[in-house]
Every structure is written in C-alpha cells, then in structure tokens.
Amino acid sequence: MTLTLLLWISVLVAAALAFIGDWRYAPEVNIAGSALTFAVSLALALQVYQTGAFLAAGDFFFVDPFNVYLVVLTTFVSTTTAVFSRRYMRVERDHGRIGPIRMRFYHAMFQLFIFAMLMALLTNNLGVLWISMELATLATVLLVSLYRTPTAIEAAWKYFILCGVGIAQALFGTVLLYFAAERVLGEGGNALLWTNLNQVSGQLEPTVLRLAFVFLMVGYGTKVGLVPMHNWLPDAHSEGPTPISAVLSGLLLNVALYALVRCKALVDGSTGTHMAGNMMIGFGLLSLLVASFSMLRQKDIKRLFAYSSIEHMGIATFAFGLGGPIATFGGMLHMLVHSLTKSAVFFSVGHASQMHGTQEMARIRGLIRGNPAVGWGLLLGVMALAGMPPFGLFASEFLILTATMKQMPLLTPLLLIGLAVAFAGLFRRVQPMAAGHIPPWQKPLAAANLPVALHMVLVLLLGIYLPGFLATWFQVAVGLLK
C-alpha cells in the first residue's frame, strides 16, 4: 500500500504540473511533491527494516534492503534538487534563457523522471525494469535540449541515439534471459520476475546467460556511462539545466548500475564462474582510467564533473564486479555518498556558472570572495569527490581498495593511478576557481544554500561515523547479493 502510494504521488504531481506548470507556485508544488514522496519512502524503508524484504501487488514489486535505500536516496536527492531548482530556474527565467511553456514541461518531466526511476528500482519484473529505464531516458532527452542552443540539441541527439542503441542491446539481453527462464519456469510473466529467477538461477542455462549478460552489460553499461559507451554522458550532463545534470549524474547512473547488479546476481548463480564480475571489473577500471585522464583536458566545468561521474561510476562498477562482502559494501556506500556529493557539487557549479554567465572554467574566478557559500560548497564538494578524508567517499574508496588488495592485488596500482590522476585533475581546475579575486563580469546571486549544506553535512557524517542501522542495513543487502 505504501508502495503504490509512493509511485502514485509522483505520477499525479507530474500530471498536475503538466497542466499548471507555469503557475507562480509550480516550483513549490514540485518541492512539496518530492518531499511527500520522500516521506513515504522513509515509511517504506522502515517497513523493510522491521519486517525484511517483501513482495507487493502480486509479485509485481519487490522491496529489499538493496533497492529501498536507493529509493530513499532518490527521493531525498530529488527533493533537495527541487529546492535548488526553485532558485536556479528563477534566475534562468530572469536571464531569459527559458520561457513559460518550457518551464511547465520542465516541471512535469522532472516528476515523471522520478516516477520512472522509482518504478525501475521497485519492480520485480525485468521487462518492466527495462521499460522504466527507457522511460527515464526519454523523460530527460528533451530536458537536455531545453535551452535550444545548437550544442544543447547536439547533446540531446547524441544522448537519444546512443542511449537508444544501448538500451536496445539491453532489451536483447532481456529477451535471451527470458528465453533461458522460460525453459525452467514456463511461459508467462512469472518467468521474468527477479525473485523467481534468483531462486532457480542454478538451473538456468549458463551459455545463454553468458550471452545475455554480454548484451545486458553493454546495454545497461551505456546508461551507467561506462567506457567505451560513454560518449553521450559529458555532452548530455553539461548541456542541460543544472538541476537535470544533478539528477542525471546523481540518480540515473545509480539506477542503471542497480539494474546491472541485479542481472549479475542471476548470471553468477547460473554460470558459477566469475565471468560477469570480471567483465564489470574490466569495464569499471577502464572507465576510471579513461575518465581520470580525460578530466585533465576539460575546459567546461560541467563536463569536468560529468567525467568525474564516469570515474566514480567506474569505481562502483569495479567494486560490484569484485564481489565479496567488503567490496559490495564499499560499492553501495560509494553509490550513496557519490550521489550526495555529486549533486551538491552540481548545485554549486550551477550557481557559479550563473554568476559568471559562462561554463568555461577559465572565466570563473574568485568564488569564495564573491559568494562564500557557493565557493566553499564547491571547494568542499571537490575535496569530497577527490576522496579526501574525512568525507564519505574516502571511506568507500578505502573499503574498495582494501578489498582489491585482498582479492586482486595486481589491480591496486591501476586503481590508485586513476584516483590520483582524478584528484590532480579536479584540484588543478577548482582551486583557481574558488580562490582569487573577483572578476569584473561576476554577478551577485541569491543562491540556494540549504541543499548543498545538507548534502555535505551528510557526506561528512557518513565519512566519520556510519550509523549502526545503516551498517547493518548494508550488511543485509550484501548478504542478499551473494
């Protein structure tokens, strides 16, 4: 019941905003809707905490510790993004970059996007998972091209085409999975339910699942932004409005990785080998290295952080591929803190680029002097991203490194190189931006400070002290993924 309520809220708010989206209070309605969704998701999480994993709506939905924490994360970040979006889009309106009809579209699609992600996280049916992923992509495609500039349209087109091709591969993988499942579970919708498949994974034909996983890896991997299927990501994340960049980087990548991990669990159960894990390790490491080195060449601030997203998603994929309790725990923690940090960074970046009227890093200077909240937010966010203690990312990366040294020691130097290069790349650019004198073209701004502050405090807390319930939570989730 809680679950259906959760999903219905976002759908209804989306529909409402589609009709009244340019009302004065539309951003407030957006925030209210997201906040309500967040509250309901907390209730859902509580239910899982008390009674354990459960199925709902006749096996259609499946809620276990792994996906419910992602649900809570998604609704939380969407709420804070909605808060940020209120101030940010108002400034964009004032600068004339966007009109009333598009604002309406923007708000409605925002809620629809949240709905699609929640559906993807909560559904038990792998086919519906695919449909929701596709829906989430489609909801954001037109948002990326919202500003209608040539570069925005180019980015949206690339996003549309490349993710479309990628997700088609994932569909083929799902078809193959269904083929293997049908032989064991019989025809009909039951054969696509993850819980059923997980139970009989030992009986599923290994050759078919191997082939299926290759397609699923390429398909969902494109959505995660793994190299070499990542070409759309820097463009799409840098050309859309900043709130969209924040949710794309912070949330959609997580959901795609979630889908990949669910499939990996099935394949591992069937083949009994480490093939799936090894593939994920390979792609993850490649993404980390390529993204880190690419970050050194960036001139646009949002592209820089988009590559940072690729890098961190690579680390998370690597962790899940490595397997074992420590690495999986690290991976889940990484997904959590990266979402919070990346969205906070994008909030600061958004305001920074608004203050200077450009996204070029060479033109952004003196942030701390000009607007301390934005400047410090950016600097602290980047410190967190680079993996400095005492922030949360340090904890997760430390866990992953430990697991690597235990299980695959030869890969540790590669991981360290990637992390180091990313560190250098980030600081090289951000330090001049944060420090220095105020350039003449900088404009003052009423920034949305609460979201950034909230996120950074959470990340700091998670780095220093992992609450007991969260630790047990993760451990249960890890156990389920074995």
């Binding site: 695919w130 449909i131 596709e134 349209i153 549309f160 479309g164």
Partner: protein, 221 residues
C-alpha cells in the same frame, strides 16, 4: 528437412525481413527508405501472426495487430508527414561507400549466426532458425545508424533495430509477456513523439537535418 508449410512461410518472411534490412542500407532516397521500412513492418506483423497460428500462443495475434498498426501505419505516416513538413523529400544524402557497407553487412549476418549458435541448439521452438536473422536485423539497423548522415535515416535505422528486437522476441520465446510488449510499444510511441519534436528543433537550429553539422561538442585542448 520436412518443415510444414507454415514454418516455410515463416522462413521466407524472415528472409524478406533480412532483405529489407539490406535494402534500407543501400537506399538513398527518403521516401524509398520509408516504404522499405513499412514493408519490413508488414513482413514482421505477418510473421508474428503466422507464428501465433502455428504455435497456438494467442496473444501473438494481438502483438501482430499492434505491430501492423504501429510499424506499418502509424510510424511511417508520422515520418511521411514530417518529411513533407520539413520539405526534405528531395534530399538524397551522400553515403559512405555502398559496396563496403554491404560487405560489412554480410559479415555481420555471419557473425550473428555464429553468436546465436548456442541458443539454436537449446531451443525447441520451430522458429529457432530465425533468431540469427533477428540479431542480424538489429546489427544492420545499427550499421545503418552509423553510416548515415541524415537525421531521418538514423531514426529509421533505430526503428529497424527495434524491429529486429521484436522479431528476436518472437523467434526465441514466442513473444515476451504481454505486459512487456505493451510497455515496449508505449516506449516506441514516445520515441516517435520525441523524434518528431527533435526534427523540428534540429531543422530550426541548423537549417538542415544533416547530422554531420552537429559536431561542435568536442574535447578542446
């Protein structure tokens, strides 16, 4: 090899679908591409109906109807209207080396045949032979997207890829569960809606639908 007549018809339709994929790769004119795409959808729908008849899986009739409605009537109609409105009916694009593309296409067909070998050995369905054709159609659709420089052709390549996926579902498993099929159809409708909007944006901003013009976002050193 004593196949029943129905199975033979299905194989013939699969061959025609493969042929239409190649024809799409080679065609230069917009309307010709559109017609071939409609034919491909037609073959696909008839094939689905035949499989439904032969296997007794009755929801395939519904799938076939849906396919025919969307891929033979609705999508081509939308594209037709778009082509007329955007005034691009006479545009003939320059294509990369046609004979080389065809050779690559043949290589892809052989590759997909090889790739689906394990499934073919395991499957007990009468349609197992056509899975290779389905995967080949997917790959040829992707090849079309890669070798084309016009937005409409790229989209048709994408839709041809979706055709291949649908065909794969019917070949491997007598169709996905109805829920999934309806969801995929819905997604396809939304895709059609979105690319319609996209064409207008691209045309307005760039004054042509040549995708090669959209190459400004690069890594700058």
């Amino acid at each position: 090899m004593s196949h029943s007549l129905v199975v033979q018809l299905n194989l013939l339709l699969a061959a025609l679908i493969l042929l239409s994929s190649f024809a799409l790769l080679m065609q230069r004119r917009m309307f010709a591409i559109l017609h071939i795409f409609a034919w491909q959808g037609f073959f696909l729908g008839v094939s689905t109906a035949i499989i439904g008849y032969a296997s007794g899986v009755h929801h395939l009739y519904l799938s076939a109807l849906l396919t025919l409605a969307m891929k033979v009537l609705l999508l081509p109609y939308i594209l037709y209207k778009l082509i007329l409105k955007l005034k691009i009916r006479r545009e003939i694009e320059n294509m990369v080396n046609v004979p080389a593309t065809m050779m690559i296409g043949i290589a892809l067909v052989i590759f997909s045949y090889h790739l689906t070998e394990p499934i073919r050995q395991l499957s007990v369905l009468m349609t197992r032979a056509t899975l290779a054709v389905a995967l080949a159609t997917v790959m040829l659709g992707m090849l079309m997207m890669v070798t084309r420089s016009h937005a409409v052709s790229q989209i048709i390549g994408f839709l041809a890829m979706e055709n291949g996926l649908f065909f794969a579902a019917t070949s491997a498993t007598y169709g996905m569960p109805m829920v999934v099929e309806l969801g995929v159809a819905l997604d396809l409708l939304i895709v059609a809606f979105i690319f319609g909007i996209f064409f207008f944006h691209i045309n307005t901003t760039f004054d042509s639908l040549d995708v090669d013009q959209m190459a400004k976002l690069k890594e700058t050193d």
